[in-house]
Every structure is written in structure tokens, then in C-alpha cells.
């Protein structure tokens, strides 16, 4: 072996040993926030971490007489990193709570750690229905995709559409959405004429939109991840489908608040269902949006940000209830059934499933003060995750 290499190793090992081991202070409560801060899902990480910081800026860093310290870690969106970081945060930093989790596999990878170490895992972003079943210590403040899709199906049926084509991105959340929509829509008496799946990478919607045009449905239901929404609507309008009488109904991911203003006027009038809009008319939301935009150079908060904000609200409320006790079981018990008014409207934590119960709004894109917003028109109130609700019935 080369001596020069060995020397480099020696130096590194020496450095490793010299790292300070963080001291454990009883009057500090640590929260490990694991998010994809770099890589393809970086925008999720930035929205959530900015909202968490904002919550602390608005509500102070002390709760129940203890200081709350947030440690942000970047998992780059890779599940093995998430797991290692969660483990390290638990054993080295002695965090009382794990939070964040940008994608479903990342939340699932950390679940065994939460169970083993009895540490609550607050899922602030990931949206597959099964997540909360992976550990009794998981509590979710984001949403589940079926939760916003089933209302879309119900709304479509009520609006008089009989024949619908679904168009989703070909990966797990997209297939979840397709399934949830079809189940509800056919139960309401409609028919799904075609189920189209678009590749996740470099999507070109043109051939799929041609299929939609050929089927001549009353409406088309769309789910694509937030970055592709603008492209989809643009191609939809370019092919003249908006004038052909086919109603476009999407989930809110397509019209992400963070990006909608750059999509241009083509998205005007598009209907979508989601749990949060930056245009939600409430004093809580106005204060949240104003403070978020001020702190982040004018960037608008989206549904990821509100998940992070509410996650912190939940943690603070639970700590207040336990009077600063960080025992994992007590914290999760305190969180169960918790209800409060979030920027998105009234929400609560389902004591059975530890998943979020929230209003799902039907929105239309409109111009407000020269900017594009999803303006809420009507609401389905206190919607539970339909997948777990169906399981409970059986």
C-alpha cells in the first residue's frame, strides 16, 4: 500500500476521533429535522425547513420552560442516508423528536428507528397512505394523496361528468391517485374510459393528450408531480383541449403555489382539489403567507411549507401538554386527537390512525392583484385518509 494514502487515512481517522460529542442538556429539547435539502427534491426541503424556522421565529424557541433546538440534516433524498441520520440523531444528539421526511421511502426507512428508540416521527411532507402504519410513533401533518383525490372524484361526479379519462405520472403516488379516483368515481356511477400513465422522467404529454382528445371524455383527471404542472397545462391548452369542452380537474400538486405564478395565464380557470392554498382567506393564513414571503425573499409558501409549519405547531402543543416531558409514548398520546386552526383551515390528528384530518378545498385559478392564485370555491370538511378509513370499516 502507498504510504501517502495511509497517511491521509491516519489524518482522517485522527480528525474523526477529535469530533466533539454534543453535550446533552436537560433544559434543551432537540428536534432532528431530516429533509432532502439537495438533489431533485430540494424544493420540498427548502419549503419545509423555511416554515419550521418561521414557526420558531413567530412563536419563540421556548416551550414549557425549555429551549427547542432544531438540527437540520440533508439526506439528499437517499433512504439509506435518512436512516443513518435518524439513527445518529437519536443515539448521538439525543433528539426527542424526528421530523421532516420529504418522500415516502425516506419516511418508511426511518420508521424502525422511531419504533425502536420510542421517538415520535413527525412526517411533514411525504404523502403515501401507508406511512402512518409503519410505526406507532409516526404522526403526519402533511396529507395523503387519496385524501385529496377522492374529493376530486366526488366533485367531478357532482359536476355532471359521466365519462372521464385519468392521466397520472407512472410512479407509486400517481398510481395511488389513479386508483383512488377510479374507485370513487365509478362508485358515484361514472365510467373511466382510459387510464393513462406518463413516464416520470422527461415527460412529453403530447401523445397522451391526443389519446384524451380521441376519447372525447366529459372531463380529464390529472396528477403530475409539482414541477411538471405548468408544462402539462401549457400542452393541454396548446392542443386546444380547453376549448373542446373537456373539463380539466387536477390535484393541487399540479398547481403548486410555489410555481403557479410562473405558469402564465394558461392555467386560469383550472379546477383542482387540495388541502392548502396560499390564498386561503383566514387571518392565520394571511399572517403566515406574509411572514413567509418576508423571510424568504418573496417566495410563496406551498403545501409542503404548511406541513412543516403545522408539524412544529403540533410538536409545541404536545410539549405544552406534557409540560416538557419528552417521553415518546406520552408525546404521541398528547398528539392524538389534537385539533387546532392552521393556516390551511381547521385540522386535527386522528387518534386512531395518527394521520391528519383536514378540509379539502375545490379551487379555481384566478388572478388576485395581478398574481395567479388557487382561489377556494367550496370545501369537503374534515376529510380522513380514505384508504385507512376503508380498512377500518372492514
Amino acid at each position: 500500500m502507498n504510504r501517502r494514502n495511509a497517511l491521509a487515512r491516519l489524518a482522517t481517522v485522527a480528525l474523526l476521533g477529535a469530533l466533539p460529542v454534543s453535550a446533552f442538556a436537560a433544559d434543551t429539547i432537540k428536534i432532528g429535522l431530516i429533509l432532502p435539502m439537495t438533489g431533485p427534491s430540494a424544493s420540498t426541503g427548502r419549503q419545509v425547513s423555511a416554515a419550521v424556522a418561521l414557526y420558531q421565529a413567530m412563536n419563540g424557541k421556548t416551550v414549557a420552560g425549555k429551549t427547542v433546538e432544531v438540527i437540520v440534516k440533508d439526506d439528499t433524498g437517499a433512504a439509506d442516508q435518512t436512516k443513518r441520520l435518524a439513527q445518529e440523531l437519536v443515539v448521538n444528539d439525543h433528539v426527542a423528536i424526528l421530523a421532516g421526511f420529504g418522500l415516502t421511502p425516506l419516511a418508511l426507512a426511518a420508521a424502525p428507528i422511531a419504533t425502536q428508540a420510542k421517538v415520535p416521527e413527525i412526517v411533514m411532507a411525504a404523502g403515501t397512505a401507508i406511512i402512518t402504519e409503519a410505526s406507532p410513533f409516526i404522526v403526519r401533518t402533511s396529507f395523503t394523496l387519496p385524501q385529496v383525490t377522492v374529493p376530486a372524484a366526488e366533485f367531478t361526479a357532482k359536476s355532471g361528468a359521466k365519462k372521464v379519462v385519468t392521466l397520472v405520472t407512472d410512479y407509486a403516488p400517481g398510481i395511488d391517485a389513479e386508483k383512488a379516483f377510479k374507485e370513487k368515481f365509478t362508485a358515484e356511477g361514472g365510467t373511466v374510459a382510459a387510464e393513462l400513465r406518463v413516464p416520470l422522467k422527461n415527460p412529453d404529454f403530447a401523445p397522451f393528450l391526443q389519446r384524451v382528445a380521441d376519447e372525447k371524455p366529459d372531463a380529464v383527471f390529472v396528477f403530475v408531480p409539482s414541477g411538471f404542472g405548468g408544462l402539462f397545462v401549457k400542452q393541454f391548452v396548446e392542443r386546444g383541449l380547453d376549448k373542446s369542452g373537456i373539463k380539466l380537474i387536477a390535484t393541487g400538486d399540479v398547481l403548486d403555489d410555489d410555481l403557479i405564478d410562473q405558469m402564465g395565464d394558461v392555467v386560469l380557470g383550472v379546477t383542482s382539489t387540495h388541502h392548502y392554498s396560499a390564498a386561503h382567506p383566514s387571518p392565520e393564513n394571511k399572517a403566515f403567507v406574509a411572514a413567509f414571503e418576508k423571510a424568504n425573499g418573496g417566495q410563496r409558501p406551498n403545501f409542503m411549507a404548511v406541513g412543516g409549519f403545522d408539524g412544529m405547531a403540533l410538536i409545541y402543543a404536545a410539549l405544552k401538554k406534557t409540560n416538557g416531558d419528552t417521553d415518546g409514548v406520552k408525546l404521541v398520546d398528547a398528539m392524538k386527537g389534537m385539533a387546532w386552526t392552521s393556516p390551511r383551515g381547521p385540522i386535527s390528528i386522528d387518534p386512531e390512525t395518527r394521520d391528519i384530518v383536514q378540509n379539502v378545498y375545490v379551487r379555481t385559478v384566478e388572478k388576485v392583484d395581478g398574481h395567479l392564485y388557487n382561489v377556494e370555491k367550496s370545501a369537503f370538511e374534515a376529510v380522513k385518509d380514505p384508504v385507512k378509513a376503508a380498512k377500518a370499516k372492514k
Partner: protein, 344 residues
Amino acid sequence: MTMPLLPTSRADAVASAKAFLGAQSRVRPLEIAFWLLAFAALFVGRSHHLLLAEITILALFAVSLDLILGYAGIVSLGHAAFFGLGAYAAGILAQSGHGDPLSGLVVAAGVAAVAGFVSSFLVLRGADLTRLMITLGVASLLYEAANKMDWLTGGADGLQGILIGPLLGRFDFDLYGTTAFAYALGVLFVVMLALRVVVHSPFGHALRAIRDNRLRARAVGIPVERRLVAVYTLSAAIAGLAGALSCQTTAFVSLDVLDFHRSAEVLLVLVIGGSGRLYGAIVGAVVFRFAQDVLSAMTPQYWQFWVGLGLVILVLIGRDRLDDLGRAIVARILPARRSPEGTP
């Protein structure tokens, strides 16, 4: 180097060649010191065992790439294909109730080796640029296949319900990662011992001849294709081992094990540590992961900038100059002994 230029007789020539090769493959004190240190780390610094386990696995993966890149001159942008295959093989095996880590390791290496053997015939064709695209293509195909076959792989949600049994029937994988680190380090040690033999064998020398000049290697009678198929298969098997280790120590597999960023990352590790020297891969893995850990703790959003800046500086300075610096330091510490340069 140390070989006399004009041997007086045939016997002399053989003897001096033997001495030259023997000197190359001799176990050096620093090598022993390194392994002693690495194993000593098992007993101290428990708080870093998780990170060390991950570094060890990355090092093993980088070593496997070094074998084809540094020794045989095959550039690959899709080495994650074998890492991912190994991870999924071990994961699916554990999911179906066979949670013994060691047998999982063997199966994973076998699966990756078969895939490596089959795809090696594609890699033999064409020049470097073609190989880049072929390896990239094979990895992308596997990625999409894993995404589509969600009944087997769990698709985008990741493989659920992996239960890994205790190592050797006795040591459970603990929260601190001590078992994981010991396990990974043990595997890396065994692989490095084996590869030392391989790269210093006639087979290893033939590979280097092929790397330096394919045409000339063929002219002196080296069966180029057979050697390349063999080394590609071996490399795939080792990458599969690394993937299996990653799966078994984290008890989770998701699509990102096959993702392009993993192939790119391992190339980066070789750029940092230097290729064609086996231990360079380990140095690169230690430096890269350690830098990532420290930098991303300081700035979770912008750590990649600093890593990138470091790489630019590394390239500007040039590896040769760094090597010279290292050599000068070594010469100062150990003035009496001079080590032949080149291969480990």
C-alpha cells in the same frame, strides 16, 4: 525503477523480475497500521460507527469500480446497477424469511456476478464513449425495471418488511451501528486481502497491460476479451456485496440504490482518492463522506458547493503534486526506507 536494465543471464532476468514483482506485492507497515487502526475504531468512538459503516460500504463499492476503471481501464457510469442488484437480492431474500446476513451476502454477490457476466459482453464492444452510454443504459434499464416490478421490489415506496437476523447467529444489528461497522469492515478486509492477490497475479498484470495498450496486449498473447469479462464479473460481484451490506445494515432498499447519482458518487470517490491503487478508493470514500458529513452539518443547503470547490482545487493542483507532497512527508518521517511507487 528498481529493475536492473541489463540482466546478464536469463536466470538473472527471472530473478530480478521476481524481486521486482515481489517488492510490489509485499505487505507494507502502513498497510498493517491502517487495518489495525480501522479495527481499533470498533472499540472507540461508538458515536461514529454508523458513519464509519457507511464509509466502509462506499469504500467497498469504490474498490469494485477501481478494479475495472483503474486496472482494466473500463469507464462506467452505471456501476450502481450491480450495487442495486445486490441490495435488492439481499433485501428480497431477507423479506422472504431468509434473514441470515452471510448467506444473503453470498446470494447477492452471485446475482450481481451473473448480471455482470452477461452485461460484460456489451461492455466489450466499442470505445470509452460507447461504454459510458452502455453502462449508463444498463443501470437505467434496471432502475425502470425495479420501478415497474412493484410486486417484487415495492416500486417507488421501497422494499417493505426486511428482517435481518443476527450476524453469525449471535450479534444483533444495534442502534449505534457497531455490529454494522464490524460486519462491513470484516467484508472489506477479506475483499481487500483477496484483491491484493488478484492485482499482483499474472491476471492483474495482464489487466494493466490491456489498460495501457490493448493492441499490444493482444500482440503478446493476452486473451483480452476473456480477461475483461472476468474482471467485469468480479467487479460486479464486489459491487453486489457492497449493495447487500447497505441493505442489510439499514434493513431497507429503495429505488435510489439504482439511481444515477450513486454511479456518479462512486466515480467522484475515485477521482478524490485516485484510481488504480485499491487503497485510493478507501481514502476517497473516507474523505468524501467525512467532508459531506461535516459540511452538510454546517450548511445543509449548500454543502455541495464546498465539495465542488474542493474538487476543482484538487484538479487544479493535480494529483501528482499531492502525491509528491505525500511522498515528501513520508520520506521525512521514514527517511531510511523508500517504497517503490505505482501500485499498492
